[in-house]
């Protein structure tokens, strides 16, 4: 066990040494890997934030029923009765047109324009909570209310959120595909780096093979190198995404003031960050492993260069 640990410590420190011999090259490699990984990770972050937001919005789906502009009080009262009589409706609220106009004035800041209108352009409306929030039930209810007299327009408030959700699922798929492709790219970059290293260390490998080094001993520094390079790339990607989220939050903060609503982009969770770093490390290791096992087999030692 101690010998095993010592062997791995040796491989690890040899890999660190190799990274530090060429600091600029190592940094550039980490940067390339980091930039490549930051694209899918950033997209993922964006999608999961939007998804969380849309789930909040779709949590309480409501139906809005707008009356015709010229509907009379009596006609509205009739609709109120029908709403009360429908068991699939748990609650509803009347928004009279005067109140709607007042709210609109307040929130839009278009006071002057509205004052100049000859009459109130907004209809009376009902905001309705359904007992069953499934899309089918909501659509059934919407279609039913639409048939009622003097109801001009019925709208499912949750519908845009569901469309957003479908869009987000597509974006998630894009992130996954991009992630897979760039993961393959990471493996390829590592493969190539390790290939060059094996070639430049050809003589050393031949010598230590002759002295009795096992394949595992020879491979270990290369594998650690690949894993460390992947880890560094993952860290760069994390940095890029975090910096992006920080900058986005700063401008979102200004937007929040304007819209008087709290808009915020949550950064990667510790769990997500760990997965990112571990994945990058594993992919770097994998690229190094494929490369080193392929290229080591091609190097056989010799005693001196003549054939006999």
């Amino acid at each position: 066990m101690r010998a095993w640990l010592a062997a791995h410590a040796g491989g690890f420190s040899a890999a660190l040494k190799r990274l530090s011999i060429t600091p600029l090259g190592s940094a550039l490699n980490a940067l390339v890997i980091g930039i490549a990984l930051s694209l899918p990770v950033g997209l993922y972050l964006l999608v999961s934030n939007l998804q969380a937001a849309s789930q909040q919005l779709t949590a309480a789906p409501q139906i809005s029923a707008f009356m015709a502009l010229d509907a009379s009080r009596a006609e509205i009262a009739q609709i109120e009765v029908r709403l009360k009589q429908t068991p699939r409706i748990t609650a509803f609220r009347l928004v009279p047109r005067e109140q709607a106009l007042a709210e609109f004035k307040k929130s839009s800041g278009l006071n002057d324009v509205i004052e100049g209108l000859p009459q109130n352009p907004l209809p009376d409306a009902f905001v309705i909570d359904a007992a069953d929030a499934s899309p089918e039930a909501l659509e059934g209810l919407r279609d039913e209310i639409r048939q009622w007299p003097r109801v001009a327009h019925v709208q499912l408030d949750a519908q845009w959120a569901r469309r957003l959700d479908a869009g987000l699922r597509l974006a998630r798929l894009v992130a996954a595909i991009l992630g897979t492709l760039l993961g393959v790219a990471l493996v390829a970059v590592t493969f190539n780096t390790i290939r060059l290293q094996v070639l430049t260390r050809r003589e050393e490998i031949e010598v230590i093979k002759l002295i009795g080094a096992t394949d595992a001993f020879i491979q270990r520094p290369f594998l650690y190198f690949g894993a460390l390079q992947g880890l560094a790339g993952g860290a760069v990607a994390w940095g890029i995404v975090s910096a992006g989220a920080y900058l986005a939050n700063r401008s979102l903060g200004e937007l929040s003031h304007v819209y008087a609503a709290l808009l915020q982009l949550n950064n990667l969770t510790p769990g997500d960050s760990l997965v990112l770093l571990l994945t990058a490390t594993a992919l770097g290791w994998l690229g190094a492993w494929i490369s080193v096992s392929r290229h080591l087999a091609l190097i056989e030692p010799y005693i001196h260069k003549s054939l006999q």
């Binding site: 010998a3 010592a6 050393e204 230590i208 009795g212 394949d215 030692p301 005693i303 001196h304």
Partner: protein
Amino acid sequence: MISFSHVSKRYPGGHQALQDVSFSIDAGELVFVTGHSGAGKSTLLKLLVAIERPTSGSVIVNGQNVGALNRRAVPFMRRSFGLVFQDHKLLFDRNVFDNVALPLQIAGFPGKDAARRVRAALDKVGLLKFEAAMPITLSGGEQQRLCMARAIVHRPAILLADEPTGNLDTEYALEIGELIRSFNQVGVTAIIATHDQSLLAQLAPRVISLRQGVLEPGAAA
């Protein structure tokens, strides 16, 4: 300790490097393998450390049939040899100490003991004061002695040297000869491939002589 029986080696190109070679070497012997270049000396060494495998016949080292050894077992078999090369094969990216420590690292030898052994080996070849130097700063003779230190640091049973004096002045060659003699005197089996006549005169070893892949009569035992 080592025995070749009816060993032939034909390379893929058709070159017959060794033909029906049989001999054996006891533990503690000092043996020279001589012959002109192309006589098969290097092939013989390559067969010993499993770089090549015989086309026919068997090569036995320490009771193991080297030619039939599993690929995974080869590194461990090689650790019973200490190898000295004509071109030293030192690693120039690390200092003298680390070069000598390499066989111990490979064998997974623990740190403190390893350092002690490395210094003992360096002391033996007279390079202790250079332990922190880079090998490139050493002279040819010193590099060859460094190679010797690396070969014996893990206390192998067999010292295997390929033209150890090939690139050296007479004075340095004498030093190397003395080192070989001293290792042999403490019980290390030494097999030296060379055509250095002065080394031969210096050490007066048993000689296995090859001519065009065939053992010369009188040399076999």
